[in-house]
């Protein structure tokens, strides 16, 4: 799932010889662009327009109960987890991880991503519907 290989590492200087983009590279770019939008919305709505920068418990629960906010925060959770875990995997590949060790690490990272997303969604659910 390498996003870049040593061959094309120097970015523009060798861009004409770059290999075809992998799914991981495209997914990383798409999730990154989505994150620019979602994180900006998150930071502005959750922190910058809030008096004191952080919502009280009651305000957090009321905010998360808005279906649009719930959906945006859930999408943010999925995007940020994918982008982060795939990024860690790409860094490990750059550091030379290969073979069986790479497959094991990739599986662990995938499990970690799934667990993170499930936990985050459960947290959102608990706050919105049980808070």
């Amino acid at each position: 799932m390498a996003t870049r290989t040593e061959e094309d590492f120097t970015e523009a200087t060798r861009w004409r010889r770059r290999p075809r983009p992998t799914f991981a590279w495209v997914a990383q770019v798409v999730s990154g662009v989505l994150l620019l939008v979602l994180l900006t919305a998150h930071m502005v709505a959750q922190h910058f327009v809030v008096d004191g920068g952080l919502r009280t418990y009651a305000d957090v629960v009321a905010w998360i109960r808005n279906p649009v906010v719930f959906a945006v925060e859930a999408l943010l959770l999925v995007c940020v987890t994918w982008h982060g875990i795939a990024g860690v995997h790409a860094v490990l590949l750059d550091l030379g991880l290969r073979g069986r060790a790479e497959r094991i690490v990739a599986r662990v990272l995938l499990d970690l991503a799934v667990a993170t997303i499930l936990y985050g969604l459960w947290l959102l659910y608990m706050l919105a519907f049980r808070g």
């Binding site: 870049r4 040593e6 094309d8 590492f9 120097t10 970015e11 523009a12 200087t13 861009w15 004409r16 770059r18 983009p21 590279w25 990383q28 770019v29 990154g32 662009v33 994150l35 620019l36 994180l39 930071m43 910058f48 004191g52 920068g53 952080l54 919502r55 009280t56 418990y57 009651a58 957090v60 940020v80 987890t81 982060g84 875990i85 990024g87 860690v88 860094v91 750059d94 550091l95 030379g96 993170t116 936990y119 985050g120 947290l123 608990m126 706050l127 808070g131």
Partner: protein, 131 residues
């Protein structure tokens, strides 16, 4: 001819390509910095989830934490976080554009633009957070 870089006698690299400081351009350093800020942000993602889990313990636990996070040391950390997010976001967009073969001839301009945007976002955020 021996290629440049930190290498053993047999020509193999002593350190991974992206950690080797030899013959690097500013854009490549920015790429490496993007990787390092990304790893830092992944650590923060899990720290953030742990902190948000405090919401499950009810209003007293969360509102007490909010008071703690309004102390100057945590506000300084918030500004550092914004720097990391802005750098990773805007520089990541630059890496994605150049890595995809777009605006390759303007890569230096993109780097300057990313730097200016990071500075502006940091300034606005610092004024909002500390002010």
């Amino acid at each position: 001819m021996m290629r440049a870089g930190l290498r053993r006698g047999d020509g193999r690299r002593l350190v991974p390509r992206w950690l080797d400081p030899h013959g690097r351009h500013l854009g490549t350093w920015a790429f490496v910095a993007n990787r390092l800020t990304g790893l830092g942000l992944v650590v923060y993602l899990y720290l953030h989830l742990v902190i948000l889990s405090t919401l499950l313990r009810g209003p007293e636990a969360w509102d007490g934490l909010v008071e703690l996070f309004r102390r100057p040391v945590f506000l300084a950390f918030d500004v550092l976080l914004i720097v990391g997010l802005a750098f990773h976001g805007f520089n990541g967009l630059r890496v994605a554009l150049v890595g995809s073969g777009l605006l390759v001839d303007r890569r230096k301009g993109l780097l300057v633009a990313a730097g200016i945007l990071v500075g502006l976002v940091t300034l606005v955020a610092a004024v909002r957070i500390v002010g």
